[in-house]
Point group: D3
Chain length 275, copies 6
Amino acid sequence: MTTTLKDVVDVLDRLYPPRTAQSWDQVGLVTGDPEQPVERILLALDPTLAVIEEARDLHADLVVTHHPLLLRGIHSVATTTAKGASITGLVVGDIALYVAHTNADVAANGVCEALAAAAGLTDTSPLAVVEDQPLGRVGRLAAPTTLGAFATALHAALPAAASGLRVSGPPDAPVETVAVLGGAGDDQFAAVRASGADVYVTADLRHHPALEAREESRGGAPYLVDAGHWSSEAVWLQTLRDALAGALRVDIDISTVRTDPWTFTVGAENLGGMP
Amino acid sequence: MTTTLKDVVDVLDRLYPPRTAQSWDQVGLVTGDPEQPVERILLALDPTLAVIEEARDLHADLVVTHHPLLLRGIHSVATTTAKGASITGLVVGDIALYVAHTNADVAANGVCEALAAAAGLTDTSPLAVVEDQPLGRVGRLAAPTTLGAFATALHAALPAAASGLRVSGPPDAPVETVAVLGGAGDDQFAAVRASGADVYVTADLRHHPALEAREESRGGAPYLVDAGHWSSEAVWLQTLRDALAGALRVDIDISTVRTDPWTFTVGAENLGGMP
Amino acid sequence: MTTTLKDVVDVLDRLYPPRTAQSWDQVGLVTGDPEQPVERILLALDPTLAVIEEARDLHADLVVTHHPLLLRGIHSVATTTAKGASITGLVVGDIALYVAHTNADVAANGVCEALAAAAGLTDTSPLAVVEDQPLGRVGRLAAPTTLGAFATALHAALPAAASGLRVSGPPDAPVETVAVLGGAGDDQFAAVRASGADVYVTADLRHHPALEAREESRGGAPYLVDAGHWSSEAVWLQTLRDALAGALRVDIDISTVRTDPWTFTVGAENLGGMP
Amino acid sequence: MTTTLKDVVDVLDRLYPPRTAQSWDQVGLVTGDPEQPVERILLALDPTLAVIEEARDLHADLVVTHHPLLLRGIHSVATTTAKGASITGLVVGDIALYVAHTNADVAANGVCEALAAAAGLTDTSPLAVVEDQPLGRVGRLAAPTTLGAFATALHAALPAAASGLRVSGPPDAPVETVAVLGGAGDDQFAAVRASGADVYVTADLRHHPALEAREESRGGAPYLVDAGHWSSEAVWLQTLRDALAGALRVDIDISTVRTDPWTFTVGAENLGGMP
Amino acid sequence: MTTTLKDVVDVLDRLYPPRTAQSWDQVGLVTGDPEQPVERILLALDPTLAVIEEARDLHADLVVTHHPLLLRGIHSVATTTAKGASITGLVVGDIALYVAHTNADVAANGVCEALAAAAGLTDTSPLAVVEDQPLGRVGRLAAPTTLGAFATALHAALPAAASGLRVSGPPDAPVETVAVLGGAGDDQFAAVRASGADVYVTADLRHHPALEAREESRGGAPYLVDAGHWSSEAVWLQTLRDALAGALRVDIDISTVRTDPWTFTVGAENLGGMP
Amino acid sequence: MTTTLKDVVDVLDRLYPPRTAQSWDQVGLVTGDPEQPVERILLALDPTLAVIEEARDLHADLVVTHHPLLLRGIHSVATTTAKGASITGLVVGDIALYVAHTNADVAANGVCEALAAAAGLTDTSPLAVVEDQPLGRVGRLAAPTTLGAFATALHAALPAAASGLRVSGPPDAPVETVAVLGGAGDDQFAAVRASGADVYVTADLRHHPALEAREESRGGAPYLVDAGHWSSEAVWLQTLRDALAGALRVDIDISTVRTDPWTFTVGAENLGGMP
């Protein structure tokens, strides 16, 4: 029996209920017709033009991404803008697009839990509750370690991007309790301090919020690890594939496109002097 | 004859007129009494607790920074918050604080011009005009080069921070026209595209704005260099010292504190494999 | 030589410059690629599903409408909503959509001028100036007439819709000066009174604004004619065809779909008892 | 014993409690002194100048209307504006004015229930709940019929206005479940679709909301009947008279002024070709 | 020949053009019909119920006040509120009401100039320009005096109210330059400081604004005189009478009602110990 | 054992919990370090420069005030503004500042209860509940009296300021039920009328609110007493001293600085002709 887009959407909506998304978010089906058949699904963090091309090459019928294509409403899909070209590429290629964003962040088997697992955390609990949903996780490492060793192990457990991980704090500082929040987490510093975490793993930290958080900590814990927006969330795609594979009889691929925008660095000071 | 704080403020206000600051900004004198004498000035990008301690150790009477300490208004200076501890430390130590922020960005001999010079630009013109002030600069290199070589040279010309420079684009892409905007520049991508620049040097670029800019460019020029908020602006402190030294007979130091929040990286992919 | 979509857009942008649209409006290209060829254009007031089907049947490459399809931004083009089904239908059918809305209202050879011509007006001048653009027109009839006769003649000159024209005022009242504003005009009553018009031809008049305007006139002039949103604006499509035909060598059709939402009336009191 | 205005207000406030009005509404006593005697009441939909004159001619002491005279606050009652002339006419004529608006819409024996009865509905339930009040009604006809026959019967049951009823949908479409909302109902289309109604009877439907509702229905049910703002609500005045007559020993008249703004139509396409 | 209300309004509008009122103000005709005859005018600062009763007793056809009756819009004129009772009293008594408020403040021969004259100022210039109108006045006394003597003389020159004048500053402080702003002037302290005034005469000064102004002055000049809202503005009614008497042949009275809300004081510390 | 600032803050927070302050308020510690010792406390209504000087002269370690120094956020503490000079004076003098404002208004043993006691009220209950806190009090006098006698007795019971008390109403009017609200109370007139109070004691009453309240009362009860912002609240400082003295072993002084801004009056009409 043919699997339809509606069948897949039902599974995804059950795994990541749209009502658990934040009020400002835009999740669910972006292109496609519920009646169209789905034989192959491509999973990616971002619905970029390169990902859409990959889907076309793979003859995928559906792309599932974490990040919305149309977080801001659009008034045109003409190909003169990147957003319009993306929508046109999807529709012309008969490729559906489905987004699970903040609803995937908060879910069991969601983005934050995947990151917590990659960080080696146990006994996790929510970092904060936002709009009634558990955002981020706090947990403990199997054994105490140092900030440098922790960051090195985390890097090995995440999909690699060009920028690597950025760390604020002395490499030999002891860490045992860890807070994680995939993607941009600079609005949860107060929750991190309240949690008693020794280190906070998140991404997209800009100068001012990061520096103010460091000042508020007077240079001590919680230390900061900026794990990269893409790396800290793309780790979830494997979890997603497993969950879908268990519920649907379709082919599922994880995109090989690294949608992190950075290509290389110059002069980054890697711990131990190694790239 | 003794130099007073008022004398120094007059010089700074002339170099960087407060009326040229953006409407949302908070610039000028933050602590101090205009009548107090000034014998030594310390220049820094951020008025952190470590910089205030450095000023105390150096017996500096005045700290001049680029970033405001009180961009958001405060209702308490009790030492229970970092901002309160900073203010208390300055006042108790009899140390004045003066801020030149967006007025320093736009000025001749300002932050953007210092960055343009470090990038090797000539024939510069404003990148955008915001609230009637020239923000950012666009110019040409002395000779065409590659993106990789440009980034390497730029890194050498800027104060070094742990994260190095992040680059989006192929290392061998040709570049000749360059747009620069010190600090956070993710609201000027449209101006950059309109300028015809091959590469945009700025900082604090987060995943979504950077990725959308790359999509809008369909993978081609303008490429991106995130030079780091601290590195891209601290380069100006030398210019500032020279300007003040020419107008005042006081001792002037540039802070040795690297107020960039990051200590080290893990796994950053440096061009050429070197750290 | 092939006419491209870009060629047609250039002609339309010259006739109805997008910068003359009101600030809240959304005009220009909604679907399509500037490089695609255009051999046949379909003109319609609204981009409804029926009009899109008509375009497909006619093998039209481009639909030009007065009303925007996406006045409010959208976050999905899945076929589960009418807007999404419309966009999908256009893109799959390789049909471009271009909108000239308030920029067409104000233009020479625009909607208001077409309506003024249908009403038989001469010596026309703007009714109001809104955001620096001339909105509506005021003019004089060739000869004085009665309200009933004027409305009857106007009805004959406009594309017919089911609701006909609704008139407020005695059939034998004298009229000579006429104000017109195609589409919804209930925010211009003060300008109409200031213009000295005997009757105001517009559409989409609801109970409260219409009744308050009649009270303010104490039952006298200016009388009101609600000519129907579709009828009062679709009259412009002939003008548009002529203008495009003079500039482009493509086939141009006016839609035969009456996109007015009403099918029939019951109990409407037609002047003279005739439909 | 004399009936005072206060006595009448008490009865009206009990029938249509002011606290059940929507938050933006303005209901209750507009002119008059609670101690003044009331011997004759005039009921009308709108407090127009013609209705006030009718009240004066009838020596009515009180006018009760559905629509507010002062929904927007006023800063002058000089006779230079229609609102001022109305207030002055009432006060000089010693005529009180009382308004029951959205509180009358939602009440048992209110406007929506009067319209539901005129439409022949049974088993009615609320169409929507807005600010905790039941707005509109959904019910079933005694027997299935066609859209044309339904509209014809509804027209016969309502006070007649010049525009008649406008209908969107094929005359022979089957209808059995009906949603009604007197006055302007274009913000309840989603509730109507959710209710499963075959047809929606409301008024003041403009081009864009009506057309978008029809598009969303893909041309099928729910069909639309615009019954006219005045006709769809004036049907309630008889209910109101009966309720007041049962509670007060005063003379009560229903206004003979048709406050619908329209005088006649031209070219309306009546079902069956009859006016 | 009879003087009509329109004639009087024309004179008042010429003396105090409504377009010179502040944008938030509500001035002009509040009750009345332009065609009604005017034989007697009553002038007052506030349109209180007692003033309306006085007008009725005097058979005045028009009341002209400085303060608006309906600064906030009203939705009812029922006698259950004071505003409604006032409007009803005016309309039933056939008494027109005209308001000249902020347009009278700024005018030549307006409120601020009347107060400046009472204070004995010469060489006056505007204190501030607000919405393009000259608000308040600054001038010099004929000769230097003390704060105590100045306040005593000002009290003698103004209509007396129960609270007298409140003064902040030492009685023997020297004053020569004076700023005045009738009514509530606590938003012009910065302009007063910039003007170099020794003392600021205004009214309705609350604890916090007054105390902050005194702190900003470090206890020195500019000192403050709160002359009372009523006293500081009612002084203008004599000017108004003279201006109207020169332009109209009607009887003009100044109200004998002291509309200042205060009846008496307890324990006020009068200079010199005298009441 | 040494008392620390933290110890005192704990006591104050228990007496006047910060969470009971209104949402717009700014209460708690403004300057100081929790670890610093406290041997002497100075209590005052306002943290003026004169009060800070008094604290320095008394060697006080902490000033507790009712009014916030930084209700609006500040961006500078340079001595060029009064606020900056105050903060600098406190920090340089090592003097902590703690504010209990609206949390002190509503508390048992708070400002309103101190005022009610001074007014001789018994059987008090809240005047209004604002943000879940009891604001103001209503109670009865031990025996009925006249408005004049009540005001005279109240004046004797409050700290004296230059303006005395202002009273609106006839001196011989009977009063028995009294509403009180220390400080600015012009937003609670409706609650006062609903309470059945014969007189309302509050402060900072401006012309328009006071006059409108008097009009709404048609000249009868509730009468008004403006007791002065400072007098009506400074009466609480004695209560505060007793509460602190019972919980802490430190020296406590009440400021002798009268922070009411007014120095003297001219021409105030004292009841009985006495100052």
